[in-house]
């Protein structure tokens, strides 16, 4: 990904020099391995800090809402779809943005890699030619195929190339089709369970949740000035880690993302305890695809299905 990094720097420097943008949002090396941090570069020196590799999994669309400046922003497939969603929802104007499109081959799953390692990971190296990733730390070193170390949402991704952009950093990558990968395999597994098994599955899934709201903070869709969980008058949901409160929070947050979620995986990546938050959101994404033929963020014109009314909307559930 070195070639990407150089190209990103080159484009970003040009944009700042020509005064086309006030800042470029990209990534710089994070303070811990596998987590590069979003970074607002406002001058040439700061741009030199930019990096691009398979640890850029947080969603940059999260940082453009309600901004007044002119912004250059890196965008992979899912990030670009979230930017499109912001444009539709009036959170940013297309004219304010210069989108640097990045054809993406997926991000590394930090939870999966941490589980493979025999201790804290200190360095991560990627061999692009061989397609492998080597993680190492005190007294261990392990090499795996990148395909095995990908975040699950990336391995089933069918929109790797940006849907809107002003310029691409490289040629488009080959898209995976829905025949090659089944985006909904995970959802179907849960759907096949009995109600008791489902209940137990989610109980188990959420048992580690500490209500830190990292999933919400990492999510570009969660831009409400006051989140329902933080409100106290009225208090919509209990703030404790009582299983009912935890489940209510996750259920409602997911529902707020219905028809808007692009399955970027930022929630899962941000979670400190490794909860697969996508077990909620992916179901809604599947429903929207099946009921409305809808995929979020594919255009800057159409509003999401739960935001519009059509006389032929499915309503079999109303008796």
């Amino acid at each position: 990904m070195k070639s990407y990094t150089e190209k990103i720097k080159e484009i970003s420097k040009g944009l700042l020099e020509e005064g086309k943008v006030d800042m470029v949002i990209g990534y710089r090396k994070g303070s811990v391995p596998l987590m590069h941090q979003p970074f607002f570069a406002q001058n040439q020196q700061e741009i030199d800090e930019f990096v691009w590799d398979s640890n850029c999994g947080l969603n940059l669309a999260n940082y453009v809402t309600d901004r007044q400046e002119k912004i250059g922003i890196l965008a992979t497939g899912c990030n670009s779809r979230n930017i499109a969603t912001h444009i539709v929802e009036g959170k940013i104007k297309r004219e304010q943005l210069y989108i640097i499109g990045i054809p993406c081959k997926g991000m590394l799953d930090r939870h999966k890699l941490a589980a493979m390692a025999d201790g804290p990971i200190t360095t991560v190296e990627e061999d692009e030619e061989k397609g492998t990733v080597t993680i190492s730390g005190d007294g261990f070193s392990e090499t795996v195929d990148k395909t095995e170390a990908l975040q699950q949402n990336c391995s089933i991704c069918v929109h790797r190339n940006p849907v809107i952009y002003d310029e691409l950093v490289a040629d488009e990558v080959k898209e995976q089709t829905r025949d090659e990968v089944d985006p909904y395999a995970g959802v179907k597994e849960i759907e096949a369970m009995s109600p008791e098994e489902k209940w137990a599955h989610f109980d188990d899934l959420l048992s580690a949740c500490i209500r830190c709201y990292a999933c919400r903070n990492a999510c570009p869709l969660c831009y409400c000035p006051l989140c329902f969980v933080d409100e106290s008058k009225p208090q919509w949901v209990g703030k404790s880690i009582d299983p009912t409160d935890v489940r209510t929070f996750h259920f409602l947050r997911a529902y707020h993302c219905a028809g808007r979620c692009t399955d970027c995986g930022a929630c899962v990546r941000a979670c400190p305890v490794g909860i697969n938050v996508r077990d909620f959101t992916k179901k809604l994404e599947k429903d929207c695809f099946e009921l409305y033929g809808w995929e979020a963020g594919m255009s800057t014109e159409q509003r999401p299905p739960l935001d519009t009314y059509k006389p032929d909307d499915p309503e079999e559930f109303i008796k």
């Binding site: 849960i190 109600p195 137990a200 989610f202 404790s240 529902y255 809604l284 109303i318």
Partner: protein
Amino acid sequence: MKNLLEHMGIEPERLHFSWISSAESTKFVDVATKVTEAVKSLENKEKKFVKTKPKVA
């Protein structure tokens, strides 16, 4: 919403959506009866989404 609640393990029998006008008293009675019957018919009596008492102080 019905789909996601069922996905999380709420039994379909517990979830009912109806559109009833204030003038449709018979429909209201009818629906209320059907809902209670459906819920009572469930084998699993475990309360879901109900907080009984705080488990943490």
